[in-house]
């Protein structure tokens, strides 16, 4: 138990280090950006119909100052701010803290990613077991083929196809907002159903695009376990087949945990596409928008939050893993 806690603390500590490393990376990347964010903003305002004088005044109001302190000092301030969860001020969202914006966007991404992840995991793993056990029957083959096909389809292609099918060809599902704003948010059915119907398409895209991976990995994992000696031994000891299936499933699912960690990164990466295609207001969409408007503080904030989410999810997975695999436990 003590070593468990020490491990936890160590993992969290290295997670924080990782976040700081990513933060420094983004900080210096942004300092390398071509074009001055301030003048980009200025031009934007002119495009919106302001006179140069108006735009100049506006820009001054927005920034207050042009950052020309030494880079080292800026960096320290930046990291110091981060430690207080202060990601700076957004440029395109005037006067709003980046942390506020990304925190309002984050729940939507988390909802999508985790529902998608869990749905695809459950279905994929189940289908994987079936396709492994029935691998010589047509149903198993069909499952395997479905897995390989879906596995090959990139997320954005999947998203585009679904969007085309269900918002254009048969416009039966809404998109563009997380729920219908005329409904009172709260724990009531209209709201929840609106929430769900808006999330269906992105979640299904997530789920379909990772389902194949789970299926194929689970299938090969089950096949490996099927070849393990202890399964044969259990049969020869006359264990019930239900018990043996349990043994198989438990053993086969363990190798999927490493994939799980990788998959989390992949899913969060996919948010850039999926939220863009379905206009869903999450972090990925925010990241793209911030890039469109060259809102660098927002961009690094969104990117950092995505990374933090991935790191935290990794730590959690890691610890779940120690619970399901006694070999790791001490």
């Amino acid at each position: 138990m003590r070593s468990f806690l020490i491990r936890l603390v160590w993992r969290i500590f290295s997670g924080i280090l990782m976040v700081l490393a990513v933060a420094s990376l983004t900080f210096f990347l942004i300092r390398l950006m071509p074009g001055d964010p301030v003048s980009a903003q200025y031009n934007q305002l002119i495009m919106q119909g302001m006179t140069p004088v108006q735009a100049e005044n506006q820009v001054k109001v927005m920034y207050g100052f042009i950052p020309d302190e030494p880079v080292g000092e800026q960096f320290i301030n930046y990291i110091w701010g981060l430690l207080h969860f202060d990601f700076g001020q957004s440029i395109s969202y005037e006067g709003i803290g980046v942390s506020h914006i990304i925190l309002t966007a984050a729940p939507w991404t988390l909802i999508l990613v985790f529902t998608g992840l869990i749905a695809s995991f459950l279905i994929g793993v189940l289908a994987g077991v079936i396709s492994a056990i029935k691998r010589s029957s047509p149903s198993g083959t069909v499952l395997t083929v479905s897995g390989s096909l879906l596995h090959g389809v990139p997320q954005f292609v999947m998203g585009l196809l679904l969007a085309y099918l269900f918002t254009a060809l048969w416009p039966i599902l809404p998109f563009g907002a997380p729920y219908d704003s005329s409904i009172d948010p709260g724990f009531n059915w209209p709201f929840i159903s609106s929430l769900m119907s808006h999330a269906v398409l992105p979640v299904v895209t997530y789920a379909l695009s990772s389902y194949g991976g789970w299926l194929l990995t689970m299938k090969s994992s089950v096949i490996t376990v099927l070849g393990d000696d202890f399964i044969l031994a259990s049969e020869i000891r006359g264990l019930k087949s239900s018990t043996i299936v349990g043994y198989i499933a438990h053993n086969a699912i363990l190798p999927l945990f490493t994939l799980f960690t990788l998959s989390i990164g992949f899913m969060f990466g996919g948010s850039v596409f999926i939220e863009n295609i379905f206009d869903y207001p999450g972090l990925g969409n925010l990241l793209l928008k911030s890039i469109d408007t060259r809102d660098y503080p927002l961009m690094s904030g969104a990117f950092l939050l995505i990374t933090i989410a991935v790191i935290v999810a990794n730590i959690i997975t890691d610890f779940l893993y120690t619970f399901v695999d006694p070999r790791i436990r001490r």
């Binding site: 074009g35 506006q58 109001v61 006067g95 939507w108 207001p281 408007t293």
Partner: protein, 582 residues
């Protein structure tokens, strides 16, 4: 009986001024603030946006307005019934506070506001700074946002007006000038805190009031204290976040929008939209044109004859057909303003001097040959013998530019100039790079407004090195790379009429002339533009909107000026009624 039934009808449109974000304050001074023009964000009056009748306004919080003959003063009378959504009356004080805030935002300075005098509870007088010459004073003043003094007043110091007075000092006295500088800084700082101000509740004097919003849409309901509440027949409005044209097309075709704002679209989308019988297309003029612009620093575009030759090469009709088939018209003249506006401004005598640059490859070839270009193996070589290649810069998401760039490239390549479009990932990036003189050839929107100063400033303003600093015209040469002069025309242009003009000065002068006095300058500018071709005008936009009559009818489709405004204005004027549903 059906009234109550219809009252549930929700009017849906897309709000494209700023993104809808739950985090933003309900503050009209915040550029992304959750305050929605014409719905819960009110102005004194709404401009018709018509070049022919620049001073035509629809009443907002102002019931009537008048201007002193010298244009130095504007007297405004407020709607007697105007109230805030908490029941408090809208007063002249509110306007005065709003004007004070306008100083902190830099807007009041831009139309030379000098002082504000409350004449009565509902009457107020605005004056230009002494010595001011701004001709659109009232025009701009009427378009100021009005906020409640009881909410915003406390953000301003008591001595705000004396600070404003100090900041306006423009004389030679050094101490006073220093004081003015300090006052200006104080205003700037105040402005910053005002844009950040987040009122607890949305207080609106408009026809609607914000009820709720999520990252995708804002939901507003009718404001019962609105001065013309009886005229407003729509009970709730859903404003969707604008994320791109494609999204609007999708909504439009699905019949989800009751009013669709202007979007560029390909023909197949138009056809599809019109397949839906209840979608009705409304076309009004606009004052925007798309051009191919040159940075004359780059060889060979510094040579005016080369630019002319290129104008002959480009078949503008073909370009428009591909790039902007629905909301575009091929530009007839390269003169700096749209053809529809030009009709009112350019005399036929001047017009006859202008070159139409009609598609003529032979002419282009002969011009180029005269300039020392040679054609070899079907490819033009620069006079120095090097091959001529061209990157035409366009912006991601601006599909018409991309497609236009593509077609122009094809035409040029066919003609023997290796051209290809290069797509820049964002408009912000594009503008930054353009100003930093990174592109030789790229697309540009010109003639952005019916206001001719604004229109010509798109060419002979910052892009050509002319800036107004403290009310004075300043010119930056192209050699100073940081000042954004990316066109690089000479300061003095000799016209075919023998006259020599400075286009920057002429443009600046437009700012100080009444419309009826502008004609002479406009004609010179148009001729200069035509003869020096700083950019080749490709197409003019037409303002195509859609309204959907399946849920609502009585749209102001006949009133162009009204159509140019947001639907909130229509509703305040008594338009838009829910259809009796069965």
């Amino acid at each position: 009986g059906s009234q109550s039934n219809n009252s549930n009808a929700k009017f849906t449109t897309v709000y494209y001024y700023h993104p809808i974000s739950p985090g933003a304050p309900k503050n009209p001074y915040n550029t992304t603030g959750n305050s929605f023009t014409s719905f819960d964000k009110m102005q004194l009056a709404w401009s018709s946006g018509l070049a022919t009748d620049l001073n035509k306004f629809y009443p907002g919080l102002a019931k009537s307005w008048s201007e002193s003959p010298d244009g130095m003063k504007a007297t405004i009378e407020l709607q007697p019934k105007a109230k805030w959504s908490n029941g408090k009356s809208v007063t002249a004080d509110d306007v005065k506070t709003s004007m004070a805030i306008a100083f902190t935002q830099g807007t009041a300075q831009s139309f030379s506001l000098g002082s504000v005098k409350v004449l009565s509870n509902k009457k107020i007088e605005l004056s230009q700074v002494s010595g001011g010459t701004y001709k659109s004073f009232m025009h701009d003043a009427l378009q100021q946002t009005v906020v409640p003094s009881f909410q915003y007043g406390k953000l301003l110091p008591d001595d705000i007006w004396s600070v404003i007075d100090q900041s306006l000092y423009a004389g030679k006295d050094k101490t006073k000038a220093a004081q003015a500088k300090k006052a200006q800084d104080q205003l700037t700082k105040l402005g910053k805190s005002i844009t950040k101000f987040a009122p607890k509740t949305d207080i609106s004097a408009g026809p609607f009031i914000l009820k709720r919003l999520n990252p995708g849409e804002a939901y507003l309901v009718k404001n019962k204290y609105f001065y013309a509440a009886n005229k407003v027949k729509v009970n709730s409005v859903s404003l969707r976040n604008y994320t791109g044209n494609q999204q609007i097309w999708n909504y439009l075709i699905a019949g989800q929008l009751d009013a669709t704002p202007f979007t560029s679209m390909p023909k197949n989308i138009l056809n599809n939209a019109l397949n839906k019988k209840t979608n009705e297309k409304v076309t009004t003029p606009t004052y925007v044109a798309a051009s191919l612009a040159f940075n004359q620093k780059f060889d060979p575009y510094g040579n005016v004859n080369v630019r002319k030759a290129l104008a002959y090469v480009i078949d503008r009709e073909a370009v428009q057909k591909v790039a902007e088939p629905v909301v575009g018209k091929p530009a007839k003249y390269t003169d700096g303003i749209t053809d529809s506006a030009a009709a009112d401004w350019i005399d036929s005598s001047v017009r006859s001097k202008m070159n139409g640059y009609n598609h003529d490859l032979d002419k282009a070839a002969s011009i180029l040959e005269k300039e020392g270009f040679k054609k070899k193996d079907g490819k033009w070589l620069l006079p120095n013998g090097k091959p001529w290649t061209m990157n035409i810069y366009v912006v991601n998401g601006f599909s018409d530019w991309i497609q236009g760039g593509k077609v122009i490239s094809s035409q040029l390549t066919d003609f023997g100039i290796d051209a290809k479009p290069t797509i820049v990932s964002s408009f912000a990036q594009y503008q930054a790079d353009m100003a930093a003189q990174k592109y030789a050839v790229g697309f540009w929107l010109n003639s952005l407004s019916p206001n001719l100063y604004t229109a010509y400033a798109r060419i002979y303003g910052t892009p050509d090195g002319y800036n107004i600093l403290n009310g004075k015209l300043t010119y930056y040469d192209q050699k100073d790379k940081t000042k954004g002069n990316w066109i690089g025309l000479p300061e003095k242009l000799k016209l075919s009429t023998g006259e020599t003009v400075n286009p920057g000065e002429l443009t600046f002068k437009l700012n100080q002339l009444k419309p009826d006095q502008q004609k002479d300058a406009v004609q010179k500018l148009a001729l200069a533009t035509n003869e020096y071709v700083p950019m080749i005008e490709i197409w003019d936009y037409t303002h195509v909107q859609f309204v959907n009559t399946s849920r609502f009818n009585n749209f102001p489709v006949k009133d162009e000026g009204l159509m140019n405004n947001m639907p909130g204005v229509w509703m305040a004027m008594g338009y838009v009624a829910p259809k009796a549903s069965k």
